[in-house]
Subunit: 656 residues, 2 copies
């Protein structure tokens, strides 16, 4: 077989490989390491390299954009060497950033035809004033106000006054910053100008409006939709004339280095200077994203006149600089669920300083604006079908209802499904086993490892699938206890009780068996039990059964790699026909985008926040019963899981 | 006669003087100088010294307070030496400051019985909240808002909603700064707190209100009334519970060093950094006064929750940091006559940063808020009598009307009456002649000099009285021209035409004759003519005669030393019975004080600003005729001055 020389930059290492080798094989043969979380299946995009020149064939480019390919990017795990080639391995950090930035979902299709004139609270008015003279010597402010009324549409005047007659319209708020530059600006433009006005916000009394900018123009008005995730911040840059999201950017939340979850951030905020620091970090992240998008699209940040912001309640507190301490302490009270709009200049956001920054309303300490926005963007708020909306991370937030009523709750699933607090658990990175199958006769496992190396531990999705497999194959019983029947030597008594060995020490990267212990199973049972108990309590609180749910909407990152079949087998998700499950991506930023564009959508979010009944599970005396009942596989009441019992019973019968 | 030793500190000079000597004589005999603007008549208070010990007798203490006397202060010109004494001469600066600070007029008697509950826009509400628990887990904001509504009076609720039912009242503005400290503050006070709310401002739509502060309390609410004069800034510190002005302070406007009049300040503001500097200077002056009053009265500046500000239109622009350039250029348009209230923190005023600073409305570039406030505080706005309100400095601002209608104008009197642009003119300081009499037979002058030294020039009041005397005695004719009839050698042909010698060089402090030249007379004629023409145009514009004026209200510093008889003789003031003239002191700060205390007074000022017709004299084609007609002594139409003509005619007859 022909051998080819692959040159690896920047180290300039050379390696000979046979025709047909994968680039990843060449790189490993050269002794270099490459991140392959998906296990070389072309799913994660993290092994992207740049083919500088040479002959290669891309088998799959599923994670690459046309622009990426033009720049020479190729997935090392999916690219075959067919001649000499020179390849540059980018810094892992660059790859990560590119992936996070560019792989944001397409924005939601707007469920309405956007008409700036009608939907938008931000209007650009063309002003043509007569120059003052001694016969008409009113002050600049009066001249501006007259001209604003002249330029307003009848629709706008009707919103401000009773009948749309301009004499009824009270004067708008004219901020000092505008007054300070207005005189010169009007004269510089020879009394032709454009004004940006904001005609209403959620809490403004009738007749309230505000001047946001006055300048010679032409003004192109833009807006921002922002989702502040605990881990990732996602933004859309939106053209307010057309409604189009002309750019999207995402970046890790700069607060990560100060704690990975909400609780540790709240604790950090309580330290001296901590609150200010966390605020600066997240606003710094947002400003970086604004800068990136504005540079790419040649937009001046001064032209961004409005922003809508969603996030969980803690993230919103930190963004606004409000101490979140009380969120963490019983009875779990936030300072504010519905912050009033603030001027961007007040919080140091790098857009027009007079732009209004509208943090959308949340429901409670643990059901925030990301959920209310998601309920609107997912269409749940318009649906007559009984819908279950869920967004599960460290906390599981869930909403049950129809367009007419909704109940919501959050249950602390704990970090088990993120691989934390588990004997052989780890985060979903290099070396993590991400999926496990157990042979129903031999009880031997097969698994997939992220990256090329030996397995080092079990990440969340592996734990979920392993739990399901051990249950289905009878290694653990419905109570979640190991069945010590001697069918396999992988089941043994460990230091702390029963355990199942997934990988023997010799096959691992650490010289230690990778195991799932009874304690781990108990943890996972509690996590899945808490989430399912949440569902149950929600359903029971309104006198319904989960089987009545006609649609399950799954938002956020939870759905990305979720295996619905296995999640149902362990009783994490209710047992419903698969077609009822819908994975929607980032419903939070999509809701912020809709609220940015439409006063009706904004009103819907507010309405949903008001409509949603919040159940504080720690105060609900049925929760404990539901939780206990859910501590079985899939559940105490197996009739709730009709698709699971035949499989389980068939295998159980075979074993007898 | 017994001799006594007077020891003068801090120089420790000793001087022997006979019993009965004035302290000022002792001081002069010792070769030291003392400022005596009023000419040793005990009127000005500027020769105040401290009697450390010894035997003296105070003849007059008219300019000293009881506290001053307790501290040992005595007026050197009014204090007789009757034994050995030790006297400390304070730095002139200290005397000036003490005088400016403490000699502010008593605040106006409020024309209403102040009821904070009814009149005040700032309310302090007592809040008692239930602590949150899992059964009542609304956010802090909602809890606060509920409590605010509970604590509001029915009257307040009626102002905010239609019927006073609290469910109709929209939520108040809750500034981010409050939200940031509120959670901790409410918990620190165990859910008992006081809130300061503002229930309306002049331009707020119905239902608008705002939270200004929330803290455990007890809160004592204070307010500030501020008059920003071109030369002097005057402030009242007001207890908003009782309505009492508990302290007053005044200080030279820190901008003086950047130009003495409005026009030179506008020019300075146009230089790079000039606008910011002028803003800082005047706000610095105000902050000094706040600090002084708060220290004296043991008030925290944080407890000052509202300020009302008046001043001429240029002063208000500079205070708010708004470029005033267009005020100076035809067609003389200000950026704003009715600024909206701003938060104190926005402009760096050292009071509660959330306090609203309300600059009262003015009418035009040269009729500002000081005039509208004066019209209200002087009672003109309530009078059915035809009233002329005037406030003359470098500019003469005047208003004619009744409570039902008003016309206003400003005419550029020029600086002649301030001693500037006149051959021997000077400001009213040490060495200035301040009043002159001319003997009707000998035509020899008698004069009074400010301070103890020799005369150095003529200040405004001297110019006014000299012009009147020269006219009455026939030295100048009705056209303002010198009559060269050889009756006195004091009338001569000088370098630049005819002139009258007031003081021969040998009797002056400068070795140069003090004269009044034909050019000076022409300047004064133009100044008085402009002011009278202003009165005439106002009257004519509404089809009335000045003789119909039933009341003349004189505000500001103009009236302080004005001799009405002489002002009428030269035709500066209209010829009306003396009892119709009223000197009111600082009507501007008094108006600010009333507007601070009463929403009705505030509404009156706004109403007056809207009601007052402004005549731009440079655009009025009758002004030039009226001005020309007024360029006679007292006027072309002498029938307008019935009290003057008999005097003049009698003396004229004697001369024949």
């Amino acid at each position: 077989m022909a051998e080819h020389t692959v040159t690896l930059l920047p180290e300039n290492k050379k390696i000979e490989v046979p025709t047909g080798s994968l680039l990843v094989e060449a790189i490993e043969a050269a002794g270099l390491e490459l991140n392959q979380p998906c296990g070389g299946q072309g799913r994660c995009g993290r092994c992207a390299v740049v083919v500088v020149d040479g002959t290669v064939r891309r088998r799959s480019t599923i994670r690459l954009s046309a622009a990426d390919i033009e720049e020479g990017y190729a997935l090392a795990c999916q690219t075959v060497v067919e001649g000499d080639a020179t390849v540059r391995i980018p810094l892992q950090e660059q790859v990560e950033r590119r992936l996070v930035t560019d792989r944001v979902e397409r924005p939601v299709e707007l469920p309405f035809a956007y008409q700036a004139e009608f939907d938008q609270t931000i209007r650009v008015l063309d002003l043509a004033m007569e120059a003052p003279d001694l016969g008409d010597n009113v002050d600049d402010q009066t001249r501006l106000l007259r001209s604003l009324l002249d330029a307003s549409t009848p629709d706008m005047l009707r919103r401000l006054g009773r009948s749309g007659a301009s004499r009824e319209v009270p004067p708008p708020v004219l901020p000092l910053a505008i007054l300070r530059q207005m005189g010169e600006s009007l004269r510089a433009g020879s009394w032709k100008a454009q004004a940006v006005v904001e005609t209403d916000t959620w809490n403004s009394p009738r007749g309230w409006w505000r001047v946001v900018d006055v300048r010679p123009g032409p003004i192109r008005p833009f807006g921002l939709a922002i989702d502040i995730g605990t881990t990732t911040v996602t933004t859309y840059l939106v053209d307010l004339k057309t409604g189009e999201a002309i750019d999207r950017a995402a970046e890790y939340n700069g607060q990560i280095s100060r704690g990975e979850d909400v609780i540790s951030r709240i604790i950090y905020a309580g330290k001296v200077g901590g609150l200010a620091e966390l605020g600066q970090l997240v606003r710094g992240t947002i400003n970086t994203l604004i800068d990136r998008m504005c540079t790419r699209r040649k937009v001046s940040p001064e032209e961004i006149y409005r922003a809508t912001v969603v996030g969980n309640t803690t993230m919103i507190h930190l963004f606004l600089g409000i101490p979140p301490a009380s969120i963490r302490l019983a009875p779990y009270i936030p300072v504010v669920n519905r912050p009033q709009p603030v001027e961007a200049g007040q919080i140091g956001l790098n857009v027009n300083p007079m732009a209004s920054v509208d943090c959308l309303p949340g429901v409670a300490s643990y059901v925030g604006a990301d959920i209310t926005a998601g309920v609107v963007s997912s269409g749940m708020c318009d649906s007559q079908e009984l819908t279950l909306f869920i967004d599960v991370g460290t906390n599981g937030e869930m909403v049950l209802g129809t367009k007419d009523w909704m109940v919501s709750c959050a249950c602390s699933a704990g970090p088990a499904f993120e691989g934390a607090g588990v004997a052989s658990g780890m985060r979903a990175t290099l070396g993590a086993i991400e999926e496990v199958w157990v042979n129903s006769r031999s009880l031997e496992p097969t698994y997939r490892v992220m990256g090329a190396g030996q397995p080092r531990g079990l990440c969340g999705s592996a734990l979920l699938s392993l739990l399901a497999e051990l249950f289905i194959t009878g290694v653990i019983d419905r109570g979640g206890k190991f069945v010590q029947d001697g069918r396999t030597n992988r089941c043994r008594e460990g230091e702390h009780g029963a355990e199942y060995v997934v990988v023997w020490a010799k096959d691992t990267g650490m010289g230690r068996d990778i195991v799932l212990t009874q304690t781990d199973v108990d943890n996972l049972m509690r996590a899945k039990g808490a989430i399912y108990a949440g569902f149950s309590v929600l359903a029971r609180s309104v006198g319904l059964k989960l089987g009545d749910v006609q649609k399950v909407l799954i938002g956020g990152s939870f759905g990305k790699y979720l295996n619905v079949e296995k999640a149902v087998q362990i009783g994490l998700l209710p047992d419903l026909p698969w077609e009822r499950f819908n994975f929607l991506g980032n419903t939070a930023v999509q809701g912020a985008y809709m609220a940015l564009l439409s006063r009706d959508s904004r009103a819907r979010v507010s309405e949903m926040a008001g409509k949603m009944t919040y159940l504080e599970l720690s105060a609900d005396n049925t929760f404990y019963d539901a939780f206990t009942a859910a501590l079985f596989l899939p559940h105490t009441d197996i009739s709730l899981f009709p698709s699971v019992s035949p499989v389980w019973e068939e295998l159980a019968a075979l074993r007898k």
